[in-house]
């Protein structure tokens, strides 16, 4: 073991060379992201259908959103994508210290996002906007408050699933950080950093769709 270079050590037995191994990982990761698109796709389909059914309720629900917090979170996530790219870049250059730094920054930004989201969730709870027995919605529009409850059901399902993916992403970043501190990555072998990067960008991208659909799209519409 000691005499093998890191590159050979990282080559799994069933691959001919590192290039084939990396190609396989990358292809698998993109395929996995396709499955994720289908997963969120079900939710987006439900959103679309109910928005067409219950447009007025959708406007009312959308107007309760804290745009400022949503916007801050969007900025936080975009920044985290930047730090993630920089982490991947540093790992490819073999700069271990910078890689760790950017991974930590990405983690911090990820948790900032989750913190802000928790504040928002708490606000919804206080305003009786969480679906279930506690749900109560005062309004002047001509529609059934249950329809707004469906808006909030989808809001919590979509942002909740997104937050769940963020938490998994956080775990992956932590694993990368530990591996990096142990010196597992080099200029020849840094595939895991790149793969987690792809995942992280995907999760960010989901939010880039969620923010306008849930917060912005009906904000200035007068039901």
């Amino acid at each position: 073991m000691p005499d093998s270079t890191p590159a050979v050590h990282n080559l799994k037995h069933h691959f001919a060379d590192l290039e084939q191994q990396k190609d396989s990982s990358t292809f698998a990761m993109w395929l996995f992201l396709v499955t994720e698109i289908m997963f969120f796709g079900g939710l987006f389909a439900a959103y679309l259908i109910y928005r067409l059914y219950y447009f007025n309720a959708w406007v009312a629900g959308s107007q309760t959103m804290e745009i400022k917090l949503g916007a801050i979170n969007t900025a936080v996530l975009i920044c985290s994508s930047l730090t993630m790219v920089l982490a991947v870049h540093s790992a490819k250059l073999g700069n271990r210290k910078l890689t760790s730094l950017f991974l930590i920054l990405t983690l911090v930004l990820g948790f900032t996002f989750l913190g802000v989201k928790a504040v928002e969730y708490h606000g919804h709870w206080e305003h009786h906007e969480v679906p279930g027995a506690n749900f109560h919605f005062e309004h002047e529009g001509n529609f059934d408050p249950n329809q707004v409850q469906i808006f909030f059901s989808l809001y919590f399902a979509m942002t909740g699933m997104h937050a769940f993916h963020m938490i998994i992403g956080g775990g992956l970043l932590l694993w990368l950080l530990i591996s990096n501190l142990r010196g597992r990555f080099s200029t020849e072998y840094n595939t895991p950093v790149e793969m987690v990067g792809l995942y992280w960008h995907f999760v960010d991208l989901v939010w880039i769709y969620l923010f306008p659909l849930l917060y912005l799209i009906s904000h200035h519409h007068n039901g």
């Binding site: 027995a133 059901s153 399902a157």
Partner: protein, 546 residues
């Protein structure tokens, strides 16, 4: 040839390399993982079979005298859930696909061996949740989990069962992902796409469905669980939700899931027919592309399960038309298989008997599917035994028969032992006769108007029901026999040698059982698939026989 040396010497292979339990539970060898799956799904097949037999026993008499109505609801639900999610979905791809895909393309393993092992563990965890639901009072929603019954009214353990289905879904996603990446990136030098065995094409197509369809089922089940636990109203009409949306999302996966169960089996049929007719499959390109066509069209037909659920007439007409289209690639396969047999040098070995059974049963299942695709006929027979008979012809008559055909064909490769040929032929015959006796009367019952999912029925239906129950007993023996003689062959079977059927394909060019890394040297492919002309030509024939 060096293959002859392999058969005479006692070599290290994937089975005798290490006997410890740990070496099985922590293996990343696709062949061992295939066997882990085989053991698991066999258990679930027996469990699902017990539920089936209880159902058939209850239906022996018109009165609901063996079990209560509620118990009966649970029996058919658990039969469906266990058979579909724990047996049929993983059966061919996770057992034979797992075992054979790397061997057939000359690779040492699947592209992601650890993910492969993880997918088995995920499967076991998911199965654990389903078993937990079964043991704590069962499940009575039907395998379809229709809302609002599943979300609001059922008093059974829906959440645990749903969670189990959700989790096993990921095992299916990971198996599909692994197969796709492996086929793209791990093929031996010279093995171009058009030299791939049709088994690989069929698995590739099924994997595309697993990867694209299963996540939609996953999110649907999440929504059902959220609705049940936290009173989300997404599928609840009282709260303005739409139960039809559930059915759309559910069938978006669950119709293509039928092709997950059928396509890999079709790959098996193509391999076996070519081998025992000693011919290249007629119209290789068409058979390969028909798999892809089935996968694509399979995603466009889901609402034919919902003709009576309240979708618009125009939507029903479009879905009806699209469903008819699926018959085209399916028929291409059947015609090409029979054309391959035409003027072939046929050996009536037991795998081929299963294939003949398959073709007959699949044709009945497929053609009655065309009946059901027609809106007018479907309205008449919706939720009757006609539908039950139709999908059993496809999912048992076709899929399970194909699985058994494949198990017989590759058993010598998997274990290095031959099974008793005579017993295999008898069991093939029992399966074919027992199956038809079980399910053909159900077409008649359905057409006469007997609804599915009731534990009692009018006395005039009794004769046909007795026939069906009698057939089920014969079918059960037909299914149990292979388990017995396969186990027997492990100890007493003749040594198979690397290629007992003199078949084409890379998997037959290595020892039986194969060594841990499959091939001594990575093969280089310089010939076309199914080169039976070359194999059977005189000078080559001597080599193989020696």
């Amino acid at each position: 040839m060096e293959t002859t040396n392999l058969s005479t010497e006692k070599k290290t292979n994937y089975l005798n390399a290490d006997y410890s339990i740990k070496s099985w539970l922590l293996t990343t060898d696709h062949k061992r993982i295939g066997l882990l799956y085989l053991a698991s799904i066999t258990v679930f097949f027996l469990l699902g079979g017990i539920f089936a037999m209880l159902i058939r026993l209850e239906l022996l008499t018109p009165a609901g005298d063996l079990v209560l109505a509620d118990t009966y609801n649970k029996l058919f639900t658990m039969h469906g859930v266990v058979m579909i999610f724990l047996f049929l979905i993983p059966s061919v791809p996770a057992v034979l696909g797992n075992f054979l895909v790397p061997l057939m393309i000359g690779a040492k393993d699947l592209a992601m061996p650890k993910l492969n092992l993880a997918s088995w563990y995920i499967f076991i965890v998911g199965a654990g949740f389903i078993l937990y639901a079964i043991l704590t009072g069962g499940l009575d929603t039907g395998w379809t989990f229709y809302t609002p019954y599943a979300t609001t009214y059922s008093n059974t353990n829906v959440v645990s069962a749903a969670l189990g289905v959700f989790i096993t879904g990921f095992s299916s996603i990971f198996t599909g992902l692994n197969i796709i990446v492996t086929v793209h990136k791990m093929r031996a030098p010279g093995l171009t796409w058009r030299r791939l065995p049709l088994f690989i094409w069929a698995h590739y197509a099924a994997s595309v469905i697993m990867v694209l369809g299963t996540p939609v089922l996953a999110i649907t089940i999440v929504l059902v669980a959220l609705e049940r636990l936290f009173h989300f109203g997404i599928f609840d009409a009282r709260l303005g939700g739409d139960p039809l949306l559930f059915q759309h999302l559910f069938w978006f996966y669950s119709h293509p899931a039928v092709y997950i169960m059928v396509l890999p089996g079709m790959g098996i049929i193509s391999e076996i027919i070519a081998c025992f007719a000693r011919k290249r499959p007629f119209g290789y390109d068409f058979v390969a592309m028909s798999s892809i066509a089935i996968a694509v069209l399979g995603f466009l037909v889901w609402a034919h399960h919902m003709y009576v659920a309240g979708i618009s007439t125009y939507a029903a007409m479009i879905f009806s038309l699209l469903t008819f289209f699926v018959a085209i690639p399916s028929a291409v396969k059947v015609f090409n298989w029979t054309a391959t047999l035409y003027k072939g040098s046929i050996t009536f070995a037991s795998p081929l008997l299963y294939v003949f059974a398959y073709i007959g049963l699949f044709m009945v299942g497929g053609l009655t599917g065309v009946f059901l695709a027609a809106v007018g006929i479907d309205l008449h027979v919706t939720d009757t035994y006609f539908v039950v008979a139709h999908f059993h012809y496809v999912m048992v008559g076709a899929s399970v028969t194909a699985f058994l055909a494949g198990m017989h064909f590759w058993w010598p490769k998997i274990t290095g032992k031959m099974y008793p040929e005579f017993a295999a032929k008898i069991s093939g015959l029992l399966v074919f006769c027992g199956f038809n006796l079980t399910f053909f009367p159900q077409f008649l019952l359905g057409y006469l108007g007997m609804p599915r999912r009731y534990h009692a029925y009018p006395p005039e239906f009794q004769v046909l029901n007795v026939l069906s129950t009698a057939g089920a007993s014969i079918l059960a023996i037909g299914f149990l026999l292979p388990m017995l003689y396969f186990a027997w062959s492990l100890r007493y079977g003749k040594d198979a040698g690397p290629n007992p059927f003199n078949a084409a394909g890379l998997e037959w060019q290595t020892a039986s059982p194969p060594p841990t890394y499959n091939f001594e040297e990575t093969p280089v492919v310089t010939w076309e698939a199914y080169n039976y002309d070359e194999i059977d030509s005189p000078q080559k024939g001597v080599e193989v026989a020696g």
